[in-house]
Symmetry: C2
Subunit: 358 residues, 2 copies
């Protein structure tokens, strides 16, 4: 059963890419060196292509700037955000690996309550390689962790679990607050280390943050589109949220799980709340329509690949959210373009589907 | 917003009863004395009425044995289990208080990671007095705790939260495992202190354990029926589970929240797995029908009190689970008897209803 035989965590060296949207901070990679050096990095530069990002020696990486994105995607590059970290999803598309870990450059290595440095990537790998429990809640949290199991009353037929598509990690120090909360609580820091991983239940939406996020690209990659944000767009800071809501509706449809909790990273600095308010304010009221939309979104049985689900969702976005603001019509078109570009770059014909066991 | 002003926790001395099913262990109350002495105890003796339960001096208590239950309820006493801790729900019925805390006599005071004794009751009161968030998942757990809040992307319209009906606490040391897991993992102990409280999302079922449980009796009391277990019944150890599934379906219908997580108690000893297996084995396979039943149960809009919801649920149990085993026909009848008895003893006419704000 669950935690009965504890094996060392595989490191997935040849199966995982780390995607980073721009690196403005030279300390960032040095701090992560012991944990990241053995992996391949994909850096997606969000702003001016003429600026040079200096990657320290010893890292294996590829770097894409706007010119590269335009060259590779041609007219389809329009679906990738400009001057916004949402551009990171281009990295998901060009990766050829099974797993992705994405992290922001203001996220440093955190310590656990015993003072040990946390290997965030190792915990994400544990989360992604063990099943999820989306169909019934386990009160002792992830039953597949060492020292834990399913509690009395947990149906035996559900103990095999579901494939895990996403591992959502958290943040010590600066919590991921919206601009109004940042403004109201400028001094709040997250000091609570919650030693838990849990599955977000089926049918439940959550705010997925892109700061510290792992996922199974082969399963859910095509749903991880970070939308149209930044330069020329009416909102920002909803890129990861958008991806999270689309992804969750699709995972629920496909029978896959999403975990949240460990690992923590140390979020070093708060972004400017005034700038954030400007980026967020439309999102704050649009969201009141978006959540009921995603809560009631139903995908037809005929959608058996993530691509089919995503195209169907784009159709529903256009139909139902187009009335909220013309932005969503543009976004729905970009969602379709994203899938076309994804399929072009991932032309092996392999599609994540319900019938494939992975 | 959420944690911005931290007030001392009220102790609810005149608003809370502690319900204990039998006390076989004299150390139990002594250990809890500093935390329980100021409250009123309701002890419900589960077995032979001629056995005397010695309550140490200084406790304010009332004690009911089977003779008392028969005398007070008359023929309706048939709905109260005999020789099983499920009889504790009689205590919920005779209480006149707004809140109930129920605990087993093999549960001792636990310590937090700093080595301090945990006042479980205080944490349950915090949980019950602060709202729940059943409609959207907050990744930093209970946003109403000190040092926490709603994260970016949490809809503002949902930040007022919902009334909290139930606070489900956990167990260090001996985890609440079923007989098969006990047999397979005889040495497993729960040593992981997870510093979190969270709302079980709407639409999600969980295994509610009655060992360490607080609830708002005025809101959800009539749904807290622990069923027919023990002497003369084909199953045991599903009393709290049954209550939990019925309660959760009704809370979801009423728009109320259920929290799980802190506080921990120290569960001192495992019950006999062989005895447990005998009690559980029918439940283990019946459960495979029960869970889909509760997951798909819908209560009509016309049900606006917990009593109405519960009677409707009893009807559906009879119709749909009666086919699984005749036991469920008997149980459905007992559910109706329970509500009749509840209303008889709580005749002020006050009923928990959607329109009442509490």
């Amino acid at each position: 059963m669950a935690g009965s035989s504890v094996k060392p965590t595989p490191i997935l060296k040849d199966e995982l890419d780390i995607v980073i949207p721009t690196i403005r901070n030279l300390d960032f990679l040095e701090m992560w060196r012991p944990f990241f050096e053995q992996y391949h990095l994909i850096i997606v530069q969000d702003g001016d292509p003429s600026k040079i990002i200096k990657v320290p020696d010893g890292f294996d990486y590829e770097l894409y700037n706007r010119n590269d994105i335009n060259r590779i995607l041609g007219p389809k590059a329009s679906c990738i955000s400009f001057k916004d970290s949402a551009c990171r999803c281009f990295g998901y598309m060009v990766s050829k690996k099974k797993y992705i870990y994405t992290i922001d450059d203001d996220c440093f290595v955190a310590k656990n309550p015993s003072g040990e440095l946390i290997n965030a990537l190792e915990q994400h790998i544990k989360n992604l390689l063990s099943p999820s429990t989306p169909f019934f809640f386990n009160t002792l949290y992830d039953p597949y962790r060492e020292g834990a199991d399913f509690v009395r009353g947990y149906p035996f037929s559900l103990r095999e679990g579901a494939p895990t598509a996403v591992s959502h990690g958290l943040w010590l120090n600066i919590p991921d607050y919206d601009a109004p909360t940042q403004l109201v609580k400028p001094r709040e820091r997250n000091t609570r280390y919650v030693d838990a991983v849990l599955t977000v239940p089926k049918g439940t939406l959550f705010p997925m943050c892109g700061m510290n996020l792992g996922f199974n690209r082969e399963l859910i990659g095509p749903a991880m589109y970070f939308g149209l944000m930044g330069d020329g767009q009416p909102i920002g800071r909803y890129d990861d949220m958008w991806a999270g809501w689309c992804m969750k509706v699709i995972c629920d449809h496909m029978g896959w799980g999403v975990k949240t909790g460990l690992p923590y990273i140390w979020h070093s600095k708060a972004s400017n709340p005034f700038v954030n308010l400007k980026k967020e304010y439309k999102g704050i009221y649009w969201q009141e329509d978006l959540i009921p939309f995603f809560q009631s979104a139903v995908l037809p049985k005929e959608c058996v690949t993530v691509q089919q689900c995503y195209i169907e969702l784009a159709k529903q976005v256009k139909e139902k959210l187009g009335k909220v603001d013309p932005y969503f019509i543009k976004l729905a078109d970009a969602m379709v373009t994203w899938i076309e570009a994804w399929d072009e770059l991932n032309s092996s014909g392999e599609k994540s589907s319900k019938s494939t066991s992975k």
